[in-house]
């Protein structure tokens, strides 16, 4: 009997401990909510003096620190990773709030993680993310707040931005994301390799035929002409190869089928990459190497050309530092060996017609907006990161959406950034990336399937047709 009582007591204790565990979480969250209810960013701008809105903005009356969960793409080799860290520290010091940063390098895994977070209700409070098709799912689900809705309470929200440059959503044509900095995609050059191969630095009138002739010389000199991992990140070549068979006027039109005129230009683009592969201009291990490996080939002087985005400036600069985290250790002589120029043109696309724009921005999630403790802090955070003082630091050599962009002090920039600014000054057009509209599983047949296309195992026509069919079935 005694043992039975002990057994019953142990069972009871176990059940109680489990219940207590469950309750402790609740208690914690209740306490936290309770604490946060009274919390708000002290610096948050006062909501509109509208009696009807007083109830909607209790945060402004509150005091105490708020913890914001923020996800951005300012991580890894992104040239703004350090700027972002500094900005977050500045905002935390100014407001007393804290940021739980869950930023990561922008790749497909990151996009999947963000989409899954939204689906499972664990989305961040503020999100710096792509404003193209990648954001469709959470906009359709009503999980982010439009700029107009925010302005109803905070009239000055994003008022320093040029309204025409804030991209509208593909879902409902409303504007959600406040842009901070633009991007461009161009061709980085290792001039040391060019010199060794006796090739001149390409200019603004660079054509695909000249490019092929230069690649032949570079290959003959024992270098890899193009640093690209076609089995890993074929994105940049995919974009420009298609663009080279179109024009800035029609590049953003997704074809109805592989057989129509637009579809044929996509097929021709894929076949252009196949031709370069067959000519041996990509590294020997382009199908098995990672992007990091081919990028290392470029920075170590084993490959000449690299098509990539403006964010890669930071990666190249880091590769010239003995300590990648310490700008003071920059080897300026080594950095001077790198240059950036236009991607060779073909047909209706001039070399100076680049891919770029304002494809990302700061979203405030519905979850944060509906949380009285976080609403003001979220607004304050976005306003701090998109202020007239902060945006130029992030935009650097790229575009911004500021109405009154301040003069750039060139002395603050390194040689590659200055070369990038000079290159951008000669740009004749900046067109968005069609792959931003062509997101999801429709990309698989031509992105992940690029090795099969260039090796001839899958015909370019079939791969394009499969992708377009998937796109139109979405």
């Amino acid at each position: 009997m005694k043992k039975r009582i002990i057994a019953a007591m142990l069972t009871g204790a176990m059940v109680l401990s489990m219940t207590a565990c469950g309750n402790s979480g609740d208690a914690g969250s209740t306490a936290s909510t309770g604490g946060d209810t009274g919390a708000a960013a002290p610096e948050a701008e006062a909501p509109a003096a509208d009696a009807g809105q007083e109830e909607a903005a209790p945060a402004a009356d509150a005091a105490g620190p708020v913890e914001l969960v923020v996800t951005t793409t300012f991580a890894g080799e992104d040239s703004n990773a350090q700027n972002y860290k500094d900005a977050v520290k500045g905002w935390e010091a100014e407001t007393g709030n804290t940021v739980v940063d869950t930023s990561a390098t922008a790749d497909e895994t990151f996009k999947t993680r963000v989409a899954t977070d939204f689906e499972t209700g664990s989305e961040p409070d503020v999100l710096f993310f792509f404003n193209g098709a990648d954001s469709n799912s959470f906009i359709e689900a009503g999980k982010v707040v439009s700029i107009d809705e925010i302005r109803a309470e905070y009239p000055d929200y994003a008022s320093n931005m040029n309204e025409d440059l804030i991209t509208a959503s593909l879902v409902d044509d409303k504007k959600y994301a406040v842009p901070a900095n633009g991007y461009w995609e161009a061709m980085f050059v290792n001039t040391e390799v060019l010199e060794a191969a006796g090739v001149a630095m390409p200019g603004a009138d660079y054509t695909m035929d000249q490019f092929k002739a230069d690649c032949e010389k570079i290959k003959a000199a024992g270098y890899a002409p193009i640093a690209a991992a076609l089995g890993n990140i074929p994105h940049y070549w995919w974009e420009f190869a298609i663009f080279n068979n179109q024009s800035p006027a029609n590049h953003l039109e997704i074809p109805e089928s592989a057989a129509d005129e637009g579809g044929q230009s996509w097929v021709a683009g894929m076949n252009d990459i196949k031709e370069l592969y067959e000519l041996g201009y990509f590294p020997e291990n382009t199908l098995s190497a990672t992007d990091d490996e081919t990028f290392a080939m470029f920075t170590e002087g084993k490959a000449a050309f690299l098509i990539d985005g403006s964010w890669k400036v930071g990666g190249i600069v880091s590769s010239c530092q003995s300590d990648p985290n310490d700008p003071a250790t920059l080897d300026t002589a080594k950095l001077d060996k790198f240059d950036v120029t236009y991607v060779p043109g073909k047909g209706s696309r001039k070399a100076t017609d680049l891919v770029g724009g304002l494809s990302s921005g700061y979203f405030i999630t519905r979850k944060a907006w509906d949380d009285p403790a976080k609403r003001a802090a979220a607004v304050s955070f976005v306003e701090y990161l998109t202020s007239d003082e902060m945006v130029p630091k992030f935009a650097q050599h790229g575009a911004s959406a500021l109405k009154n962009a301040p003069e750039v002090d060139a002395s603050e920039f390194n040689s590659l950034q200055i070369k990038a600014m000079n290159m951008m000054a000669g740009t004749t057009s900046l067109t968005g990336a069609v792959q931003d509209l062509f997101a999801g599983d429709c990309r698989v047949s031509t992105f992940d399937g690029m090795p099969e296309i260039v090796t001839g195992r899958v015909a370019a026509e079939d791969a394009v047709a499969e992708g377009l069919e998937a796109y139109h079935n979405q």
Binding site: K3, R4, T11, T112, N285, A289, E293, D448
Partner: protein, 295 residues
């Protein structure tokens, strides 16, 4: 009265209930939900499926025509054989050798077991550097030995070997420790008697150690084969997306690829069902082959 408590099983059931509920919530519910999802139209992880595919068995039909499925199944079966021969086989040899040395047994146990405690992701990154085409450790050694051209260890022809070698290496120590423990359980008196009868060292291994290790080897073999079905992290770190040319997919990595990379979630669910079916069949086959004996 005191002994009655052992007859009454109710308190034991009360203790089992929390663990049972845990399994229901975190294993059986997702398992059956996954089977259901494999028939549904689901293109977003975490989203709720609202409609069935048309026809409902679309994913299973697609599997039959998907060359990557056959590649991944073939690679997984190769991985099982490699695991069986490479891991258990090498572990037996190492265990027998270590069992026959006088001193340093503990040292070798620690040394061989050590790779198990290192994260597979970290090992994957390390082997990435070892097999790097440009400046990788293996190619540098070959260069010192006079080889002129760099070898791409991740090229299509040899990628599978490059992927399986580290997996094999990582788990040898695990089976080695199990087998050494099995060898320790064999009475010294048997060896002593054999020695007096004039048995050589090789004969003692052949007629005493190996037969008495039979059941331990069976257990190791079952663990190795079923473990091979679950290998994921190290191959994915070294060969993401089945690189090169989708030739290195295993069933686990292909399921992950379909779910996380291509967002073909319902197809990923169907692949998960295939993995379970494959696992059950192979476990039955292995259990039939490596049946334990009663001594």
């Amino acid at each position: 009265m005191g002994a009655n408590i052992y007859r009454n099983k109710k308190p034991a059931l009360a203790f089992l209930l929390p663990a049972f509920l845990f399994m229901v919530v975190f294993l059986y519910y997702p398992f059956f939900k996954n089977i259901l999802n494999s028939f549904m139209h689901l293109k977003q992880l975490g989203a709720s499926a609202t409609e069935f595919n048309t026809p409902w068995y679309t994913n299973y039909e697609e599997m039959l025509h998907d060359p990557n499925v056959w590649t991944s199944v073939k690679n997984t079966i190769i991985m099982m054989l490699v695991t069986l021969i490479g891991q258990v086989g090498i572990a037996i040899i190492l265990a027998l050798m270590v069992d026959n040395i006088g001193r340093g047994k503990q040292f070798f146990r620690t040394v061989f077991f050590f790779p198990i405690v290192i994260s597979a992701t970290a090992l994957g990154l390390m082997f990435n550097l070892i097999f790097l085409r440009d400046k990788g450790m293996v190619n540098q050694i070959l260069e010192i030995l006079g080889k002129q051209n760099l070898t791409d260890w991740k090229a299509e022809g040899i990628a599978l070997i490059t992927m399986m070698a580290p997996v094999m290496w990582q788990y040898v120590g695990f089976y080695f420790v199990i087998l050494v423990t099995g060898l320790n359980n064999i009475s010294d008196e048997l060896y002593e008697a054999a020695r007096i009868d004039g048995a050589t060292a090789l004969q003692r291994v052949r007629y005493i150690s190996v037969p008495l290790l039979h059941n331990v080897i069976c257990t190791c073999s079952v663990l190795a084969v079923t473990g091979a079905l679950k290998v994921f992290d190290l191959p994915w770190v070294m060969f993401p997306k089945g690189m090169p040319l989708k030739s290195t997919f295993l069933t686990g990595t292909y399921m992950y690829y379909q779910t996380m990379e291509t967002k073909n979630v319902d197809y990923g669910a169907a692949l998960a069902v295939l993995i379970v079916v494959l696992g059950v069949i192979l476990a039955k086959v292995v259990n039939a082959i490596f049946r334990e004996k009663d001594y």
